[in-house]
Symmetry: C2
Subunit: 211 residues, 2 copies
Amino acid sequence: MLHLPLSIIQSWSRFYRGNFVNCLSGFKSVSLIGTINKEGDTNLSVFSNIIHLGADPALIGFINRPREAAPHTLANIESMGWFTINHIHQEIIEQAHQTSAKYDEGESEFAAVGLTPEWQAEIPVPYVKESLVKYALQLVEIIPITHNNTFFVIGTLKEAWIDDSILEEDGFLSIERAGSVTSLGVDGYYDTKRLARYAYAKPNSAPREIP
Amino acid sequence: MLHLPLSIIQSWSRFYRGNFVNCLSGFKSVSLIGTINKEGDTNLSVFSNIIHLGADPALIGFINRPREAAPHTLANIESMGWFTINHIHQEIIEQAHQTSAKYDEGESEFAAVGLTPEWQAEIPVPYVKESLVKYALQLVEIIPITHNNTFFVIGTLKEAWIDDSILEEDGFLSIERAGSVTSLGVDGYYDTKRLARYAYAKPNSAPREIP
């Protein structure tokens, strides 16, 4: 094992340390977040810190970087109160990553990277047509994280669209069948393969696999 | 595509809805969190909402469920101010999942599930000896999420221990080489395979793969 005390980690360049710390926390739930501003300009950006907060009420959030580094998605959610989250499958990882480029506010990432905005009744923000698992959220709260000027944006689930093949009989979603990827660090995209599901654990029983 | 409006999602049983919403947000960075209480009792519990917050300062957090559902890790961090986060590889997923059983406060999950506490200089909380990627954090802040009584626990990185084989020349960690898994929903564990890494994206350049 390699021991890396804080003094070593702090001695690294910003770029090297960014890669390291971003990977250390493990695989992430990368998705595309779709928003719109008051002028009707659509925006699409890749986010890799999607957070499951609870199922009842169904709350899902994400971490937005400091405002100067990533202003558009945050400003659009603040002014319009809605966003969509769209899974990324293997065929669209290049386009998804490209949305992280710093486009001007008036330029839609949908057109720039070659993805298609999709509109659904009663949802005022665009989905990604190509995405096979997607859902819409209404803003609940934006919590500023004072230690590094990031924001924890929390939404409440309003609807979901999922590929027909992924819903299991107990509500579990086998999203790997829709090709949903996971990410690592700031730039790594990974395919997945199920190892096991386990039944609810109890103190005096051995772990039991769900077939 | 299957359309699931909120009225349908709300009509489901707690169990079914829990599986669904937990999967909808995508793959998660599952790890074991090690803590200790003032009496010296060690505690180990699986958490699947580890959150990368920033690299400078290096801040990593996690979501703790409501206090009545998951009291020990939170109480230990509140009183001692430290915790470790330990990646889970394929050989220990059964033991890792078993730590989610509701053991009494005095009973250590390490002994109950068959994992080994490991102590390192200047770190007052236990690591998991079997884990191949692990790091220690000192508490920075616990943010109560009022909407569902969860907690966002934020720590600052103090040191890391990583398998010799995973550190790339640019600081990226190929944690899949150490077998680190990702999770889905409350009970699914997944192996991963790298699809691609992409260079920093710019508006007028095509995406470029990092070899």
